[in-house]
Subunit: 95 residues, 7 copies
């Protein structure tokens, strides 16, 4: 990516495998086939990953404390081609 | 799908059975009949699937830990034709 | 519905009783009188249904597990004519 | 209401007492004085109703089950004239 | 307020003390100085009120039931002039 | 602030230290350097404050009642210049 | 940053390492390569930080009180170049 506009930079990732993170914590990984100005995005050979929340419980002195952490994402579905609506996307990076 | 714009790619799925995932976790499966630039979508012979959340409780050492996982989706209703408002859609993939 | 644009397809449901599901889980059922490009919708002889959440508690091995399920919707109000703002609508289907 | 566009239908309710339900569960009841294409709405002689959530606890076999239900709305404030921003509105019906 | 468009009606409240309720439950009270078509609003001699949630616990037969009620709002800050972004506003009424 | 349009009124605060409250409860305090019609805002010599929620537990008769209150905000970071996206802002007031 | 429009001010940070905070509490740190009027942003040599929530439990008299605090953010992933959709961004500051 070497251009000064965000969509030009995104265009340099066409044909590469990218990671698409969604607002709801889900993730798609696949080959970047197409996108438009709304960031509507089409991936090929896509995989869908599900977020896992974990509650870690620790104990300091005699007090119990809970800490919510986001665990690793788990492969949920293998999809062929997937159309992702742009307004659900948080960020896109090359894998 | 072989075109460089997302809606062209989506157009290649017309007449095929597609999976439409919504922001609230619900899912529609049906034959893709129509869509527009807002991704307003019409499915025929549609089925509606409800998300199920499960809380899995494990115990490590003497501490109890809860993990929220999204269970399988369950068939809720068989619909004929359904109009889905575009802004509720997360992603669309061929079944 | 036999046209290739979503609003044309929706237009074929005018005068029929339709189910309108909202983002907050509520549902309106009534005769489709009018809609516009924002999917602002007017139903006649409308009924309003309230969502019910239930928590089902099961026990596996000595562990208690909770599962939140969406129960059946319950008739809340009988309305004459209702105007529904389009951006609150998830999907519309013929009853 | 006898016209084919939603705002025309809404226009037929001018001067009548209407119920305006908001996305956050609150409700306004008053005489419909004015609205625009964003559904920004002005009511006169308005009353504001607050939603009440109740948790009903039942017991099946030896398991306790909680069910959240939306109780009746309660009159909170008597207002003269109120301006309601359109994007907070779910639906409007004649009282 | 005697005009048929919502913003004209709102204009009639200029210079009067108004109550501005926000989507997050907060409230501003002050003299209405200015607003625009987005309902961006400027109040003078403004006061900010914080919402208080209370959980009322009652007991019927031998079952405990919780009811969440919104308590009275409490004065949090006295501000001079405040600019409120229109899309955070639920409703505006004369005090 | 003495002009009849909200952005003119906001313009009168340029160069003064302002408090910018965000939808997520965070707060920025700094010198108002620039803003545009989307209320995208740039502050200089900015400080970031984190919201603190507290749960106050009281006991009436033999019933326990919880009340969630928003505690004082705490200084989290000292920033030089910060760009704040307009749609995250709730309100802006002179310090 | 010395210009009177927010995007000009942001432009002065091009090529510098910036902190980008998102609405969901996540944070990206990297070299500001590009942005547009929607604040779609491209960072190079980017790092992704995950928010950690902690529940601190204190005891006053014989009452237990919980306080939710946002702990330090933890490095989650090292990314090369990342495209961030503008509408997920809360604020951008120079590191």
């Amino acid at each position: 990516m070497d251009s000064s506009r965000p969509l030009d930079a995104l265009n340099n990732s066409r044909g590469k495998r990218v990671i698409v993170d969604l607002k709801n914590g889900w993730r798609f990984v696949g080959k970047l086939h197409a996108f438009d100005i709304h960031i509507n995005t089409v991936l090929e050979e896509a995989e869908e990953y599900e977020p896992k929340n974990k509650t870690v419980i620790t104990q300091v002195d005699e007090k119990t404390s809970e800490q919510v952490v986001l665990g690793d994402k788990e492969l949920k579905r293998k999809l062929g081609t997937v159309f992702i609506r742009g307004d659900t996307i948080t960020n896109i990076s090359v894998q």
